[in-house]
């Protein structure tokens, strides 16, 4: 998905209509700590992986 940058991780989660307590976000292969989601800005060329979890186990 292409998005306008820069954008914070928190804003990206909201844009994707995802629940913050059900995702882990990696940028360029490294986790974005939950405490840094508001401040961490994503730029052009960043590779973002959002892993989301549903119930079941």
């Amino acid at each position: 998905m292409a998005v306008a940058t820069p954008i914070s991780v928190t804003a990206l989660i909201r844009l994707g209509k995802l629940r913050p307590d059900r995702v882990a976000v990696e940028v360029n292969g490294l986790i974005v700590p939950r405490a840094q989601r508001d401040t961490r800005q994503l730029n052009d060329g960043d590779s973002v992986e959002i892993v989301s979890f549903v119930q079941g186990g």
């Binding site: 059900r22 079941g56 186990g57």
Partner: protein
């Protein structure tokens, strides 16, 4: 030898009957080869959550002789668990940690199985998993899955982490996969199917995802990092 946290665990003599450690190991080496078995002997795997995923992962790893297992869960066995989890009627009301440890001992009583009957939180992740090389996320509640994955990636980034999402119902088996989604992070499941009326969590499909996790863990033990 079997390590236990508090109650001594099952008597090896009673459970093993005539089977010695050497008898079991010889049979495992015959199946797996000595070099493979040595890697399995030395592996240290934690399983967080002992439901349909975790109990099935534990049975698979115990059968191939993974040497060090760390079983973590806070719940007791309930009748509604028996549709997919590796417990028996005799286990109802027992903590899952103890019941599973005792059931694994009926397969191989000579493994080092440690148990922790605790709730996993952000605050205890570092200490809890200090001695484990590979962590299996096997929780049921999505917020718990997410907390564990974030906490491990933030605090213990060098541990290998195998997690799961999407396994309810009886949809096609072929939508389930294992993906490497980070340097040390693997995700098993179909990624989307949560329980719904008439399509709950059932042994076959949950078991497929559990064995995806178990096989990824086995691949990691064998030093293969690709999904």
């Amino acid at each position: 030898m079997m390590h236990t946290d508090n109650d001594g665990g099952p008597s090896i003599t009673r459970i093993a009957g005539a089977a010695t450690m050497d008898d079991i190991r010889t049979a495992l080496i015959e199946r797996h080869s000595l070099p493979v078995q040595r890697l399995l002997d030395n592996a240290r795997v934690a399983i967080a959550g002992l439901g349909g995923l975790g109990s099935t992962v534990a049975v698979a790893l115990a059968r191939i002789g993974v040497g060090h297992l760390h079983l973590i869960d806070r719940d007791v066995v309930d009748m509604s668990n028996l549709n997919r989890q590796q417990y028996f009627l005799k286990d109802l009301g027992s903590p899952k940690t103890r019941a599973l440890r005792d059931n694994l001992a009926m397969i191989n009583p000579y493994l080092d199985v440690r148990i922790a009957t605790v709730t996993v939180t952000d605050d205890n992740v570092t200490g809890l998993f200090a001695d484990d090389d590979i962590i299996c996320e096997a929780f049921d509640v999505p917020e718990n899955k997410t907390m564990l994955v974030n906490a491990v990636l933030e605090r213990l980034p060098h541990k290998k982490l195998v997690c799961a999402s999407g396994m309810a119902g009886f949809g096609s088996s072929n939508t389930i996969s294992t993906r490497r989604v980070g340097d040390n992070l693997y995700l098993c499941g179909d990624g989307r199917t949560e329980p719904s009326p008439g399509a709950g969590l059932m042994a076959p499909r949950v078991g497929i995802v559990a064995c995806h996790e178990a096989n990824m863990i086995t691949r990691l033990i064998m030093q293969d990092k690709e999904a």
